[in-house]
Symmetry: C2
Subunit: 151 residues, 2 copies
């Protein structure tokens, strides 16, 4: 996707939510939709700072929050306690390496029917979303990993 097109998408989403289009938000948005590393706020800051040297960490936090509010990003809290951001907002799963912390997308999804089965089990609860996180060891860390771990 061309950068101008994405900026237009961002502009529209921002306007729809009563926010203004700014260079900082655009840079954060562009970085998030370019990367697959599911960065922490600090990682976003360090990268975006290459485009906008004067940007502050606080602004990155605010921009990320704005993007999440506009539905252009997702905030993910992983089992290791790390908060990370994802430029994808479609329902998809993640897998996290217990050794190096890397997070990747899982191509497939669990069948809708299984979710409906679960929803039925919590009938007194109105289920509106879900999140599935696999954990284990990535190709690079697997050799050093214990034969069998749980978590």
């Amino acid at each position: 996707m061309h950068s101008d097109t994405r900026d237009l998408v961002l502009r529209r989403a921002l306007e729809r939510h009563g926010h203004r289009f700014t260079e900082q938000r655009a840079a954060v948005h562009r970085f998030l939709s370019d990367t697959f590393i599911h960065p922490t706020a600090d990682e976003v800051f360090l990268s975006v700072r290459r485009d906008i040297p004067g940007i502050s960490l606080a602004t990155v936090y605010k921009s990320l929050e704005t993007l999440v509010g506009c539905g252009l990003a997702t905030k993910l809290s992983f089992s290791d306690g790390s908060a990370r951001y994802d430029g994808r907002t479609d329902p998809h799963h993640h897998v996290r390496c217990l050794e190096c912390g890397r997070v990747m997308d899982v191509p497939g999804r669990i069948p809708e029917r299984d979710l409906q089965d679960l929803e039925r089990q919590v009938s007194d609860f109105m289920v509106t979303g879900y999140r599935l996180e696999l954990s284990g060891y990535c190709a690079e860390c697997a050799p050093a990993a214990p034969t069998r771990a749980s978590g």
Copy 2:
């Protein structure tokens, strides 16, 4: 389960991991296995303090960490960023209320077969565990909830 029995379980787990049995760890362990509220570290502290008035928050953090290390508790990081502890260590799912933050267990589980399907999709990854979190609105908050939310 009688409290003495649980203390014995704790004692054995601690010894197996080279740790000592202490009043503080026992109180944290007892509270965790008694409750269903999936408390934060601070909530554990506030409750355990009723049994051991002199206990400190730092000790609660240390005890929780020890219990997790011994496999007697699980640390859960939820999508709202809150870190919570669960006395259950068997694989099970959670549902969290977007309004009040309450977390409950889900009785059922997704079929093992579906997980295996997912594992196959990340063939370069050794999957050792997973975590599924439903979100929505609990019975008390549902009336005030938006007609349809996403997250």
